[in-house]
Symmetry: C2
Subunit: 381 residues, 2 copies
């Protein structure tokens, strides 16, 4: 069984090196740019891969929806196994791609699409063989963790750290997918789809932005014994799911609070196994390349498992209630307020229990009145 890699960018070239070094032949690499070091292996024509009977695993590392989607669909229809590191693709076409793999009796694996170098999705799937998952959650975006950690440890402004993250290649020129939560929403949607054997779409994930956090917020939270982390959650309650992405005040002594720089830490809570957490590099050439390569090798060595029989399980963010932290210059009052402190014209509010959906609506109102307000979940334990 030979492999083709689609896209010779950071992840694709990392996976190429890892596979070749481990003794697994990469027969073709698809890229539109010249790569003389690849010699005859390089092609810009996907049909060279599709029509090559020796290639039975296609590793997609192009990113984005097109042409990745077209290529992956063609590969599955041609009964080639697929491996992908592309969260946008997997999240958007989850049901289509997994059904297609099943119908064609091939495998599709995408461990590297959420958690980068961490074998998170792989272990999540493995734990399902003999456990019921009740929650998946954690820090699943390295860029925003880097920003929060740098703000806290070196007391620098959000925008200054963001610019630094851009210059280091951690953040995109347009950082919205990170700091407004879309990247996290896709990863927790994929994680929740696996954990709860269903299909969660990115637009079902309730999301609060991180971008308004200030040094003052971080300092204030510290006085409460809390650190702010940009957390993602998929939680089962009876017969519905709550799936949401929120900056969250977590206990300073929790393991998540100790996650520094651009690392990730994601956890599953199983009825048997309890809390199991996985920590490591959520991005990067060799970590993510290694993760993609391990999926390829699992397929080649016959160790990959693939089952797809999703159940209807609706996402309803009205069903989970938590407390929130709000920092705003506009007035917030009424039943929602559990505790309020005012310093000059700034209100620091801890709310009573509110559903994720209600707070999402309310956050929009607050941000209309005070575009710089910061709203975050508040974990009590």
């Amino acid at each position: 069984m030979k492999t083709a890699i689609l896209g010779f960018g950071i992840v694709g070239s990392g996976a190429y090196e890892v596979l070749e070094k481990a003794g697994y032949e990469v027969k073709k690499v698809l890229d539109i740019k010249p790569h003389p070091e690849l010699g005859d292996k390089l092609t810009s024509n996907f049909d060279d891969i599709l029509n090559d009977k020796e290639i039975s695993v296609v590793a997609e590392a192009i990113g984005g929806l097109e042409p990745a989607h077209t290529f992956v669909v063609k590969a599955l229809r041609a009964k080639k196994n697929v491996v992908s590191s592309n969260k946008h693709l997997i999240c958007t076409y989850y049901d289509e791609l997994l059904s297609l793999a099943k119908d064609n009796n091939v495998k599709i694996l995408f461990t590297a699409s959420a958690g980068g170098g961490i074998p998170w999705l792989f272990n999540l799937k493995r734990s399902l063989c003999a456990d019921d998952i009740i929650e998946v959650s954690g820090i699943i975006n390295g860029t925003t963790n880097y920003i929060l950690d740098a703000m806290e440890t070196s007391h620098r402004l959000f925008n200054d750290v963001l610019e630094e993250a851009k210059s280091l290649g951690f953040a995109e020129a347009n950082p919205s997918a990170d700091i407004d939560g879309l990247d996290l929403a896709r990863k927790i949607a994929i994680s929740s789809s696996i954990a709860f054997n269903t299909v969660v779409k990115e637009n079902q994930v309730s999301t609060l932005p991180l971008r308004n956090i200030t040094l003052d917020d971080i300092d204030y939270c510290k006085t409460l014994g809390k650190k702010v982390k940009y957390m993602s959650y998929g939680i089962k309650n009876d017969n519905t799911l709550s799936v949401f992405v929120e900056p969250t005040l977590i206990d300073c002594n929790s393991i998540e609070a100790s996650v520094s720089t651009n690392n990730n830490m994601v956890s599953l809570y199983g009825k048997n196994v309890g809390k199991l957490s996985f920590y490591g590099q959520g991005a990067g050439k060799y970590p993510t390349g290694h993760s993609l390569a391990c999926d390829v090798i699992d397929i080649i060595t016959g160790k990959a498992s693939f089952e797809y029989n999703p159940k209807e399980l609706s996402v309803d963010n009205n069903n989970l209630k938590r407390k929130y932290f709000i920092r705003t210059t506009s007035d917030v009052s009424g039943e929602i307020v559990f505790k309020k402190e005012q310093v000059d014209n700034v209100r620091y509010i801890i709310t009573n229990y509110v559903s994720v959906s209600s707070m999402n609506r309310f956050a929009k109102e607050i941000l209309l009145a005070d575009e710089f307000a910061f709203i975050a979940g508040f974990e009590e334990k």
Copy 2:
């Protein structure tokens, strides 16, 4: 493929429940005590299992060396796959059992033998398919982590917490294997054997005891920005290994420092993947039972990998140097001292870099002069 479980204690009964609930039949259970709930499945005669052609996986959860060793050897010779949660057995007979499995073309898996409910050994092995491991290390004993955490958070004496741990079932009546490091030595020996594809015996692991730690030590270390954790290490340096178990002063902000109660956190450092850490319950009926059950299911579903071609790689603890912390009433002086502080008749010493072996010898001298001295590794980063 059907399974037999040897031993119906905490782990064996946990694995039984997990397997049955997941739809995998346990055909026989070996135990010498009566268990009416098991009906016909219970036997006290191992031959009932050995001679049953339907049973192709034997899950050993008896613990200790005998009769576990005899049963496992017979099972492998009868070409039955073996799964074990028994660190004492695996560590002692590592080469014999893995060779026997290979010769008989069956599998032996033992994820639950180090890390309990954490799929640590499983992931360590998986990462090897495309990476070189340079270090394995972490917190791999729940009892001593519970003691250290309770001493620190509730400022109670070592012996008081140890008694509490005994009453909670976390610690044995004779706690030496935990507080003197033998349990940790076995687990890091097994982890190092896998990580570096060799055979490390428990008596090759250099071990410093935890039992002399006091509240005063914990407070003093806090003034240095450090927490004490009972750490285990397997580190590759060029062509030898250093394998050692030592109380260690680690940075208060490290992820290991945030591991509370009886949890474990173990890490691998891969050339490709960087640091990957695994956190969870290192013991307990359902976590460890789940881990044993997952190994069984991996075998039944054909997903288990098993290769055994160990290399000669000698353990030499002279080759790794680190700093140490020493608290003693006896005098320590000379080149070894980097920093010394004396309060009344108590000396607090940070050493210069010393090899693990040298410090092990020196620790014995110190303890002869001051039987209550506390000696611990000192991590600089």
